[in-house]
Protein backbone atom coordinates (compact mmCIF):
# COMPACT_ATOMS: atom_id res chain seq x y z
CA UNK A 1 0.00 0.00 0.00
CA UNK A 2 1.26 3.43 -0.92
CA UNK A 3 1.82 5.74 2.00
CA UNK A 4 -1.09 8.19 1.95
CA UNK A 5 -0.57 11.95 2.02
CA UNK A 6 -0.59 13.52 5.45
CA UNK A 7 -3.19 16.21 6.08
CA UNK A 8 -2.51 16.95 9.71
CA UNK A 9 0.84 16.50 11.42
CA UNK A 10 1.10 17.19 15.13
CA UNK A 11 4.47 17.36 16.84
CA UNK A 12 5.50 18.09 20.44
CA UNK A 13 2.09 19.56 21.19
CA UNK A 14 1.35 20.71 24.73
CA UNK A 15 -1.99 22.26 25.68
CA UNK A 16 -2.28 23.93 29.05
CA UNK A 17 -5.07 25.60 30.98
CA UNK A 18 -3.24 28.06 33.21
CA UNK A 19 -0.60 25.73 34.62
CA UNK A 20 -2.41 22.42 34.23
CA UNK A 21 -1.41 20.33 31.28
CA UNK A 22 -4.53 19.14 29.43
CA UNK A 23 -2.83 17.24 26.65
CA UNK A 24 0.64 16.28 25.50
CA UNK A 25 1.19 14.68 22.10
CA UNK A 26 4.67 13.84 20.82
CA UNK A 27 3.70 12.89 17.30
CA UNK A 28 0.41 12.26 15.53
CA UNK A 29 -0.26 11.94 11.81
CA UNK A 30 -3.70 12.14 10.28
CA UNK A 31 -3.89 11.13 6.63
CA UNK A 32 -5.79 12.80 3.87
CA UNK A 33 -9.29 11.42 3.25
CA UNK A 34 -9.35 9.11 6.21
CA UNK A 35 -11.70 9.02 9.14
CA UNK A 36 -9.40 9.25 12.11
CA UNK A 37 -10.89 8.16 15.42
CA UNK A 38 -9.92 9.54 18.81
CA UNK A 39 -11.22 7.66 21.83
CA UNK A 40 -10.74 8.17 25.52
CA UNK A 41 -12.67 8.93 28.68
CA UNK A 42 -13.83 12.43 29.65
CA UNK A 43 -11.02 14.77 30.59
CA UNK A 44 -8.46 13.05 28.43
CA UNK A 45 -7.83 16.11 26.25
CA UNK A 46 -9.85 15.16 23.15
CA UNK A 47 -11.84 18.37 22.93
CA UNK A 48 -8.80 20.49 23.75
CA UNK A 49 -7.05 18.84 20.83
CA UNK A 50 -9.84 19.86 18.45
CA UNK A 51 -9.88 23.40 19.84
CA UNK A 52 -6.15 23.71 19.28
CA UNK A 53 -6.51 22.70 15.61
CA UNK A 54 -8.83 25.54 14.72
CA UNK A 55 -7.23 28.04 17.05
CA UNK A 56 -10.17 28.36 19.43
CA UNK A 57 -7.67 29.13 22.18
CA UNK A 58 -8.19 32.73 21.09
CA UNK A 59 -11.48 32.69 22.95
CA UNK A 60 -10.21 31.16 26.15
CA UNK A 61 -7.70 33.29 28.01
CA UNK A 62 -6.45 30.46 30.17
CA UNK A 63 -5.81 28.10 27.24
CA UNK A 64 -2.24 27.93 25.98
CA UNK A 65 -1.03 25.89 23.00
CA UNK A 66 2.63 25.07 22.37
CA UNK A 67 4.21 22.94 19.72
CA UNK A 68 3.49 22.31 16.10
CA UNK A 69 0.23 21.57 14.29
CA UNK A 70 0.75 21.38 10.56
CA UNK A 71 -2.45 21.41 8.50
CA UNK A 72 -2.13 20.87 4.75
CA UNK A 73 1.46 22.10 4.82
CA UNK A 74 0.75 25.20 6.87
CA UNK A 75 1.75 25.81 10.46
CA UNK A 76 -1.59 26.51 12.18
CA UNK A 77 -0.03 28.64 14.90
CA UNK A 78 1.50 31.00 12.34
CA UNK A 79 -1.64 31.57 10.30
CA UNK A 80 -2.44 35.28 10.28
CA UNK A 81 -5.93 34.98 8.83
CA UNK A 82 -7.47 32.67 11.44
CA UNK A 83 -10.92 33.26 9.98
CA UNK A 84 -9.90 31.72 6.65
CA UNK A 85 -8.28 28.85 8.57
CA UNK A 86 -11.43 28.15 10.59
CA UNK A 87 -13.51 28.29 7.44
CA UNK A 88 -11.48 25.39 6.05
CA UNK A 89 -12.21 23.40 9.21
CA UNK A 90 -15.78 22.34 9.94
CA UNK A 91 -16.69 21.64 13.57
CA UNK A 92 -19.58 19.62 14.96
CA UNK A 93 -20.16 19.91 18.71
CA UNK A 94 -21.45 17.27 21.15
CA UNK A 95 -24.80 18.98 21.66
CA UNK A 96 -26.50 20.05 18.44
CA UNK A 97 -26.35 23.80 17.97
CA UNK A 98 -29.12 24.96 15.70
CA UNK A 99 -28.56 28.68 15.60
CA UNK A 100 -31.76 30.63 16.27
CA UNK A 101 -32.06 31.44 12.59
CA UNK A 102 -34.17 29.76 9.94
CA UNK A 103 -33.00 26.40 8.62
CA UNK A 104 -32.04 28.14 5.40
CA UNK A 105 -30.08 30.88 7.15
CA UNK A 106 -28.27 28.35 9.33
CA UNK A 107 -26.72 26.83 6.24
CA UNK A 108 -26.42 30.10 4.30
CA UNK A 109 -24.70 31.93 7.16
CA UNK A 110 -21.15 30.92 6.38
CA UNK A 111 -21.40 31.58 2.61
CA UNK A 112 -23.00 34.93 3.42
CA UNK A 113 -20.24 35.81 5.85
CA UNK A 114 -17.72 35.17 3.12
CA UNK A 115 -19.55 37.56 0.84
CA UNK A 116 -21.86 35.45 -1.32
CA UNK A 117 -25.02 37.46 -1.91
CA UNK A 118 -26.46 35.87 -5.04
CA UNK A 119 -29.77 34.24 -4.15
CA UNK A 120 -29.60 31.39 -6.68
CA UNK A 121 -26.05 30.58 -5.60
CA UNK A 122 -27.12 30.51 -1.93
CA UNK A 123 -30.17 28.37 -2.75
CA UNK A 124 -27.91 25.93 -4.53
CA UNK A 125 -25.43 25.76 -1.62
CA UNK A 126 -28.20 25.26 0.95
CA UNK A 127 -29.83 22.49 -1.04
CA UNK A 128 -26.55 20.71 -1.77
CA UNK A 129 -25.36 20.83 1.86
CA UNK A 130 -28.70 19.70 3.27
CA UNK A 131 -28.82 16.80 0.80
CA UNK A 132 -25.31 15.72 1.73
CA UNK A 133 -26.19 15.90 5.42
CA UNK A 134 -29.23 13.67 4.78
CA UNK A 135 -31.66 16.31 6.01
CA UNK A 136 -33.05 17.79 2.80
CA UNK A 137 -36.05 15.46 2.45
CA UNK A 138 -37.27 16.27 5.95
CA UNK A 139 -36.99 20.05 5.77
CA UNK A 140 -37.24 21.05 2.11
CA UNK A 141 -40.79 22.32 2.56
CA UNK A 142 -40.09 24.38 5.66
CA UNK A 143 -36.71 25.96 5.10
CA UNK A 144 -37.84 29.16 6.75
CA UNK A 145 -38.73 27.64 10.07
CA UNK A 146 -36.36 28.15 12.97
CA UNK A 147 -33.46 25.71 12.95
CA UNK A 148 -33.35 25.72 16.73
CA UNK A 149 -36.82 24.16 16.88
CA UNK A 150 -35.86 21.00 14.99
CA UNK A 151 -35.46 17.75 16.91
CA UNK A 152 -32.03 16.96 18.33
CA UNK A 153 -31.13 14.52 15.58
CA UNK A 154 -32.25 16.92 12.86
CA UNK A 155 -30.35 19.78 14.47
CA UNK A 156 -27.20 17.69 14.50
CA UNK A 157 -27.57 17.03 10.78
CA UNK A 158 -28.25 20.74 10.33
CA UNK A 159 -24.97 21.41 12.13
CA UNK A 160 -23.22 19.07 9.71
CA UNK A 161 -24.88 20.81 6.75
CA UNK A 162 -23.68 24.11 8.17
CA UNK A 163 -20.16 22.78 8.51
CA UNK A 164 -20.30 21.53 4.89
CA UNK A 165 -21.39 24.97 3.68
CA UNK A 166 -17.90 26.16 4.64
CA UNK A 167 -16.50 23.70 2.06
CA UNK A 168 -14.04 22.42 4.65
CA UNK A 169 -10.96 20.34 4.01
CA UNK A 170 -11.09 18.98 7.52
CA UNK A 171 -14.16 18.02 9.51
CA UNK A 172 -13.88 17.77 13.29
CA UNK A 173 -16.63 15.88 15.09
CA UNK A 174 -16.74 16.06 18.86
CA UNK A 175 -18.89 13.22 20.20
CA UNK A 176 -21.59 14.09 17.70
CA UNK A 177 -23.88 11.22 18.68
CA UNK A 178 -24.13 12.00 22.38
CA UNK A 179 -27.57 13.61 22.05
CA UNK A 180 -28.75 11.75 18.99
CA UNK A 181 -30.88 8.62 18.69
CA UNK A 182 -29.30 5.43 17.30
CA UNK A 183 -31.11 5.60 13.95
CA UNK A 184 -29.95 9.16 13.29
CA UNK A 185 -26.48 8.16 14.44
CA UNK A 186 -26.44 5.45 11.75
CA UNK A 187 -27.58 7.95 9.11
CA UNK A 188 -24.87 10.42 10.10
CA UNK A 189 -22.29 7.64 10.05
CA UNK A 190 -23.33 6.83 6.49
CA UNK A 191 -22.96 10.50 5.62
CA UNK A 192 -19.44 10.53 7.08
CA UNK A 193 -18.42 7.52 5.00
CA UNK A 194 -19.41 9.48 1.90
CA UNK A 195 -17.75 12.69 3.06
CA UNK A 196 -14.34 11.17 3.56
CA UNK A 197 -13.98 10.92 -0.20
CA UNK A 198 -13.73 14.70 -0.24
CA UNK A 199 -12.27 15.64 3.11
CA UNK A 200 -10.42 14.40 6.14
CA UNK A 201 -12.56 13.58 9.14
CA UNK A 202 -11.45 13.55 12.78
CA UNK A 203 -13.97 11.72 14.90
CA UNK A 204 -13.76 12.14 18.65
CA UNK A 205 -16.03 9.75 20.45
CA UNK A 206 -16.80 7.92 23.64
CA UNK A 207 -18.26 5.02 21.75
CA UNK A 208 -15.58 2.47 21.08
CA UNK A 209 -17.80 0.63 18.61
CA UNK A 210 -18.29 3.81 16.60
CA UNK A 211 -14.61 4.08 15.69
CA UNK A 212 -14.67 0.42 14.79
CA UNK A 213 -17.52 1.06 12.35
CA UNK A 214 -16.02 4.19 10.84
CA UNK A 215 -12.35 4.85 11.20
CA UNK A 216 -9.30 3.26 9.62
CA UNK A 217 -6.94 4.44 12.32
CA UNK A 218 -7.53 5.43 15.91
CA UNK A 219 -5.72 7.18 18.72
CA UNK A 220 -6.34 6.53 22.40
CA UNK A 221 -6.06 9.53 24.74
CA UNK A 222 -5.95 9.08 28.49
CA UNK A 223 -5.46 11.74 31.16
CA UNK A 224 -3.89 14.21 28.75
CA UNK A 225 -1.59 11.69 27.17
CA UNK A 226 -1.58 10.06 23.76
CA UNK A 227 -1.34 6.43 24.80
CA UNK A 228 -1.40 4.73 21.44
CA UNK A 229 -2.11 5.20 17.73
CA UNK A 230 -2.80 2.37 15.35
CA UNK A 231 -5.04 0.62 12.87
CA UNK A 232 -8.49 0.60 14.41
CA UNK A 233 -8.96 -3.11 13.89
CA UNK A 234 -5.81 -3.81 15.92
CA UNK A 235 -7.48 -2.20 18.93
CA UNK A 236 -10.13 -4.88 18.84
CA UNK A 237 -8.04 -7.88 17.96
CA UNK A 238 -5.74 -7.26 20.89
CA UNK A 239 -2.73 -6.32 18.80
CA UNK A 240 -2.21 -3.22 20.93
CA UNK A 241 0.90 -2.58 22.92
CA UNK A 242 -0.48 -0.84 25.95
CA UNK A 243 -2.49 -2.70 28.56
CA UNK A 244 -4.52 0.47 29.28
CA UNK A 245 -5.74 0.58 25.68
CA UNK A 246 -6.82 -3.04 25.85
CA UNK A 247 -8.65 -2.42 29.11
CA UNK A 248 -10.47 0.61 27.77
CA UNK A 249 -11.52 -0.98 24.51
CA UNK A 250 -12.76 -4.08 26.29
CA UNK A 251 -14.77 -1.94 28.68
CA UNK A 252 -12.85 -2.71 31.84
CA UNK A 253 -12.88 1.00 32.65
CA UNK A 254 -14.17 4.24 31.19
Amino acid sequence: MVEAAIELLVQDLTIRYDNDIALRVDKLEIRKNEIFGIIGPAGSGKTSFLNAINRMDEFNDSMNVQGSINFGGLEVGNVKNVYALRKKIGVVFPLPVGLPLSIYENVALSPRLSGIKDKTKLDEIVERCLIRAALWEEVKDRLHQLGSLLSGGQQQRLTIARALSQEPKLLLLDEFSIAVDPVTTMRIEDVLKELKKEMTVVLVTNLVQQVRRLSERTAFFLNGELVEVGETEDFFTGVVEDQRTRDYVEGRFG
Binding site: N54, M56, V91, P100, L146
Partner: protein, 289 residues
Protein backbone atom coordinates in the same frame (compact mmCIF):
# COMPACT_ATOMS: atom_id res chain seq x y z
CA UNK B 1 -47.01 1.43 55.16
CA UNK B 2 -47.92 4.96 54.09
CA UNK B 3 -49.30 6.04 57.46
CA UNK B 4 -48.14 9.51 58.37
CA UNK B 5 -45.91 9.89 61.37
CA UNK B 6 -45.82 12.79 63.79
CA UNK B 7 -42.90 14.24 61.76
CA UNK B 8 -44.82 13.97 58.47
CA UNK B 9 -47.79 15.78 59.99
CA UNK B 10 -45.61 18.54 61.34
CA UNK B 11 -43.80 19.00 58.02
CA UNK B 12 -47.10 19.12 56.26
CA UNK B 13 -48.58 21.83 58.49
CA UNK B 14 -45.40 23.90 58.37
CA UNK B 15 -45.43 23.72 54.59
CA UNK B 16 -49.08 24.79 54.52
CA UNK B 17 -48.42 27.68 56.90
CA UNK B 18 -45.47 28.93 54.83
CA UNK B 19 -47.41 28.84 51.59
CA UNK B 20 -50.31 30.81 53.12
CA UNK B 21 -48.04 33.32 54.87
CA UNK B 22 -45.95 34.05 51.77
CA UNK B 23 -49.09 34.25 49.66
CA UNK B 24 -50.54 36.89 51.97
CA UNK B 25 -47.31 38.91 51.88
CA UNK B 26 -47.36 38.78 48.08
CA UNK B 27 -50.93 40.01 47.99
CA UNK B 28 -50.09 42.83 50.40
CA UNK B 29 -47.59 44.12 47.85
CA UNK B 30 -50.39 44.91 45.43
CA UNK B 31 -52.26 47.00 48.05
CA UNK B 32 -50.17 50.21 47.76
CA UNK B 33 -50.31 50.15 43.95
CA UNK B 34 -54.07 49.62 43.94
CA UNK B 35 -54.59 52.30 46.60
CA UNK B 36 -52.54 54.86 44.73
CA UNK B 37 -54.30 54.19 41.44
CA UNK B 38 -57.75 54.21 43.08
CA UNK B 39 -57.19 57.52 44.83
CA UNK B 40 -55.68 59.10 41.70
CA UNK B 41 -58.53 57.96 39.47
CA UNK B 42 -61.19 58.88 42.03
CA UNK B 43 -59.90 62.37 42.77
CA UNK B 44 -58.10 63.30 39.56
CA UNK B 45 -60.01 61.34 36.96
CA UNK B 46 -63.12 63.52 36.54
CA UNK B 47 -60.96 66.56 35.80
CA UNK B 48 -59.16 64.98 32.84
CA UNK B 49 -60.38 65.99 29.44
CA UNK B 50 -59.00 66.60 25.98
CA UNK B 51 -58.68 70.25 26.89
CA UNK B 52 -56.81 69.47 30.11
CA UNK B 53 -54.23 67.45 28.18
CA UNK B 54 -53.76 69.83 25.29
CA UNK B 55 -53.90 73.35 26.73
CA UNK B 56 -51.46 75.41 28.76
CA UNK B 57 -51.88 76.24 32.47
CA UNK B 58 -53.67 79.54 33.17
CA UNK B 59 -54.39 81.79 36.16
CA UNK B 60 -50.98 81.33 37.76
CA UNK B 61 -51.18 77.55 37.22
CA UNK B 62 -54.37 77.18 39.25
CA UNK B 63 -56.42 76.35 36.16
CA UNK B 64 -56.05 75.26 32.54
CA UNK B 65 -54.16 72.22 31.26
CA UNK B 66 -50.77 70.58 31.28
CA UNK B 67 -49.72 70.40 27.63
CA UNK B 68 -46.31 72.13 27.97
CA UNK B 69 -45.35 69.78 30.79
CA UNK B 70 -46.61 66.71 28.94
CA UNK B 71 -44.68 67.59 25.79
CA UNK B 72 -41.63 68.51 27.86
CA UNK B 73 -41.49 65.14 29.59
CA UNK B 74 -41.80 63.30 26.28
CA UNK B 75 -38.98 65.41 24.81
CA UNK B 76 -36.76 64.85 27.84
CA UNK B 77 -37.29 61.09 27.69
CA UNK B 78 -36.70 60.84 23.94
CA UNK B 79 -33.50 62.89 23.97
CA UNK B 80 -32.23 60.98 27.00
CA UNK B 81 -32.89 57.67 25.17
CA UNK B 82 -31.11 58.85 22.01
CA UNK B 83 -28.08 59.48 24.15
CA UNK B 84 -28.08 56.60 26.59
CA UNK B 85 -29.30 53.60 24.55
CA UNK B 86 -26.49 53.53 21.94
CA UNK B 87 -23.89 54.35 24.56
CA UNK B 88 -25.22 51.80 27.05
CA UNK B 89 -25.59 49.02 24.49
CA UNK B 90 -22.10 49.65 23.09
CA UNK B 91 -20.62 49.53 26.59
CA UNK B 92 -22.49 46.35 27.43
CA UNK B 93 -21.43 44.66 24.17
CA UNK B 94 -17.81 45.57 24.85
CA UNK B 95 -17.91 44.33 28.43
CA UNK B 96 -19.74 41.13 27.61
CA UNK B 97 -18.29 40.16 24.22
CA UNK B 98 -14.85 41.70 23.90
CA UNK B 99 -13.29 42.55 27.24
CA UNK B 100 -11.39 39.87 29.07
CA UNK B 101 -11.53 39.70 32.83
CA UNK B 102 -8.81 42.13 33.91
CA UNK B 103 -8.51 44.66 36.73
CA UNK B 104 -9.58 47.36 34.27
CA UNK B 105 -12.88 45.71 33.35
CA UNK B 106 -13.53 44.96 37.00
CA UNK B 107 -12.97 48.62 37.75
CA UNK B 108 -15.40 49.59 34.99
CA UNK B 109 -18.00 47.16 36.32
CA UNK B 110 -17.56 48.61 39.79
CA UNK B 111 -17.97 52.12 38.40
CA UNK B 112 -21.22 51.12 36.69
CA UNK B 113 -22.63 49.64 39.89
CA UNK B 114 -21.63 52.76 41.78
CA UNK B 115 -23.14 55.00 39.14
CA UNK B 116 -26.44 53.21 39.73
CA UNK B 117 -26.19 53.97 43.43
CA UNK B 118 -25.49 57.69 43.19
CA UNK B 119 -28.46 59.71 44.53
CA UNK B 120 -30.33 61.61 41.85
CA UNK B 121 -29.66 64.98 43.49
CA UNK B 122 -25.95 64.35 43.07
CA UNK B 123 -26.53 63.63 39.39
CA UNK B 124 -28.44 66.91 39.25
CA UNK B 125 -25.49 68.87 40.63
CA UNK B 126 -23.12 67.01 38.30
CA UNK B 127 -25.34 67.87 35.35
CA UNK B 128 -25.46 71.49 36.44
CA UNK B 129 -21.69 71.67 36.60
CA UNK B 130 -20.85 69.59 33.54
CA UNK B 131 -23.55 70.35 31.00
CA UNK B 132 -25.17 73.63 32.04
CA UNK B 133 -22.02 75.52 33.02
CA UNK B 134 -18.92 73.74 31.69
CA UNK B 135 -20.29 72.58 28.32
CA UNK B 136 -22.25 75.80 28.03
CA UNK B 137 -25.62 74.26 27.14
CA UNK B 138 -27.33 76.51 29.69
CA UNK B 139 -30.44 75.25 31.44
CA UNK B 140 -31.91 73.39 28.50
CA UNK B 141 -33.58 70.18 27.36
CA UNK B 142 -30.17 69.00 26.14
CA UNK B 143 -28.50 69.49 29.52
CA UNK B 144 -31.42 67.92 31.41
CA UNK B 145 -31.63 64.93 29.05
CA UNK B 146 -27.90 64.30 29.21
CA UNK B 147 -28.14 64.33 33.00
CA UNK B 148 -31.05 61.89 32.89
CA UNK B 149 -29.19 59.80 30.34
CA UNK B 150 -26.11 59.45 32.51
CA UNK B 151 -28.25 58.63 35.51
CA UNK B 152 -30.07 55.83 33.70
CA UNK B 153 -27.05 54.51 31.79
CA UNK B 154 -26.32 51.79 34.38
CA UNK B 155 -29.84 50.39 33.95
CA UNK B 156 -29.34 50.01 30.21
CA UNK B 157 -25.82 48.61 30.59
CA UNK B 158 -26.73 46.04 33.23
CA UNK B 159 -29.90 44.90 31.45
CA UNK B 160 -28.12 44.64 28.10
CA UNK B 161 -25.13 42.83 29.52
CA UNK B 162 -27.35 40.32 31.29
CA UNK B 163 -29.38 39.63 28.19
CA UNK B 164 -26.19 39.23 26.12
CA UNK B 165 -24.89 36.74 28.63
CA UNK B 166 -28.17 34.85 28.50
CA UNK B 167 -27.44 33.99 24.86
CA UNK B 168 -25.94 30.48 25.08
CA UNK B 169 -22.14 30.45 24.58
CA UNK B 170 -22.58 27.51 22.18
CA UNK B 171 -24.01 29.90 19.59
CA UNK B 172 -20.85 31.97 19.72
CA UNK B 173 -18.62 28.89 19.53
CA UNK B 174 -20.56 27.65 16.50
CA UNK B 175 -20.19 31.00 14.77
CA UNK B 176 -16.52 31.44 15.59
CA UNK B 177 -15.88 27.88 14.49
CA UNK B 178 -17.14 28.65 11.00
CA UNK B 179 -14.73 31.55 10.70
CA UNK B 180 -16.95 34.44 11.74
CA UNK B 181 -15.31 37.42 13.43
CA UNK B 182 -16.48 38.51 16.84
CA UNK B 183 -18.44 41.39 15.33
CA UNK B 184 -20.13 39.17 12.70
CA UNK B 185 -21.13 36.83 15.52
CA UNK B 186 -22.51 39.68 17.60
CA UNK B 187 -24.43 41.21 14.72
CA UNK B 188 -25.88 38.02 13.24
CA UNK B 189 -26.54 35.92 16.30
CA UNK B 190 -25.94 37.52 19.69
CA UNK B 191 -27.63 40.92 19.40
CA UNK B 192 -30.81 39.74 17.65
CA UNK B 193 -31.34 37.20 20.41
CA UNK B 194 -30.61 39.66 23.20
CA UNK B 195 -33.09 42.17 21.81
CA UNK B 196 -35.96 41.37 24.18
CA UNK B 197 -33.70 41.81 27.19
CA UNK B 198 -32.30 45.08 25.87
CA UNK B 199 -35.85 46.34 25.42
CA UNK B 200 -36.51 45.50 29.07
CA UNK B 201 -33.65 47.78 30.02
CA UNK B 202 -35.08 50.53 27.89
CA UNK B 203 -38.52 50.08 29.46
CA UNK B 204 -37.04 50.49 32.92
CA UNK B 205 -35.14 53.51 31.76
CA UNK B 206 -38.21 55.17 30.28
CA UNK B 207 -40.18 54.69 33.49
CA UNK B 208 -37.43 56.10 35.60
CA UNK B 209 -36.61 59.00 33.31
CA UNK B 210 -40.21 60.16 33.05
CA UNK B 211 -40.66 60.32 36.78
CA UNK B 212 -37.39 61.89 37.91
CA UNK B 213 -37.57 65.41 39.29
CA UNK B 214 -34.30 66.27 41.00
CA UNK B 215 -31.94 65.83 38.02
CA UNK B 216 -33.95 68.14 35.78
CA UNK B 217 -34.73 70.83 38.36
CA UNK B 218 -31.40 72.65 37.99
CA UNK B 219 -30.58 71.59 34.46
CA UNK B 220 -33.53 72.26 32.20
CA UNK B 221 -36.98 72.08 33.69
CA UNK B 222 -38.79 75.36 34.26
CA UNK B 223 -41.29 76.33 36.92
CA UNK B 224 -43.58 77.91 34.35
CA UNK B 225 -43.10 78.83 30.71
CA UNK B 226 -45.60 80.83 28.72
CA UNK B 227 -44.49 79.18 25.44
CA UNK B 228 -43.46 75.75 24.19
CA UNK B 229 -39.75 74.93 23.69
CA UNK B 230 -38.52 75.71 20.16
CA UNK B 231 -35.43 73.49 20.23
CA UNK B 232 -33.31 71.34 22.51
CA UNK B 233 -31.41 74.34 23.82
CA UNK B 234 -34.60 75.79 25.30
CA UNK B 235 -35.93 75.14 28.74
CA UNK B 236 -39.08 73.14 29.12
CA UNK B 237 -41.75 72.35 31.65
CA UNK B 238 -41.95 68.73 32.80
CA UNK B 239 -44.67 66.62 34.39
CA UNK B 240 -42.74 65.61 37.47
CA UNK B 241 -41.66 69.14 38.33
CA UNK B 242 -45.09 70.49 37.46
CA UNK B 243 -46.65 68.06 39.93
CA UNK B 244 -44.24 69.21 42.62
CA UNK B 245 -45.01 72.86 41.82
CA UNK B 246 -48.79 72.61 41.84
CA UNK B 247 -48.75 70.46 44.97
CA UNK B 248 -46.54 72.66 47.12
CA UNK B 249 -45.41 75.89 45.52
CA UNK B 250 -48.49 77.66 44.18
CA UNK B 251 -51.27 79.02 46.41
CA UNK B 252 -54.90 78.60 45.48
CA UNK B 253 -54.65 75.41 43.42
CA UNK B 254 -57.90 73.40 43.43
CA UNK B 255 -57.54 70.21 45.43
CA UNK B 256 -58.13 67.89 42.47
CA UNK B 257 -55.52 69.43 40.11
CA UNK B 258 -52.39 67.73 41.57
CA UNK B 259 -54.25 64.40 41.48
CA UNK B 260 -55.02 64.88 37.81
CA UNK B 261 -51.39 65.74 37.01
CA UNK B 262 -50.20 62.72 38.97
CA UNK B 263 -52.73 60.48 37.20
CA UNK B 264 -51.50 61.62 33.79
CA UNK B 265 -47.85 61.09 34.79
CA UNK B 266 -48.50 57.60 36.14
CA UNK B 267 -50.62 56.74 33.10
CA UNK B 268 -47.84 57.90 30.76
CA UNK B 269 -45.39 55.56 32.43
CA UNK B 270 -47.90 52.72 32.42
CA UNK B 271 -48.78 53.21 28.77
CA UNK B 272 -45.12 53.38 27.74
CA UNK B 273 -44.40 50.27 29.80
CA UNK B 274 -47.33 48.42 28.30
CA UNK B 275 -46.30 49.38 24.77
CA UNK B 276 -42.74 48.25 25.39
CA UNK B 277 -43.87 45.00 26.99
CA UNK B 278 -46.04 44.22 23.97
CA UNK B 279 -43.15 45.07 21.64
CA UNK B 280 -40.86 42.90 23.72
CA UNK B 281 -43.26 39.98 23.68
CA UNK B 282 -43.47 40.37 19.92
CA UNK B 283 -39.68 40.39 19.51
CA UNK B 284 -39.36 37.42 21.86
CA UNK B 285 -41.94 35.52 19.83
CA UNK B 286 -39.82 35.99 16.72
CA UNK B 287 -36.73 34.34 18.19
CA UNK B 288 -36.60 31.01 19.93
CA UNK B 289 -34.10 28.44 20.88
Amino acid sequence: MFQSTELNRRNHSVQKLVSILFGVVTCLLIVPVLTIMTVLVYKGGPNISFEFLFSAPTNGMTAGGIFPALLGTILLVVVALIFSVPLGVATAVYLSEYASDTWLTRLINLAIINLAGVPSIVHALFGLGAFVIFAGFGTSILAASLTLGIMTLPVVIVATRESLQAVPPEFRMACWGMGATRWQTIRKVVLPNAMSGILTGVILEVSRTAGETAPIMFTGAAFFLPFLPQGILDQTMAMSLHLFVVSTQVPGVPETLPYSVALVLVSMVLIMNAASIILRAYVRGQKKW
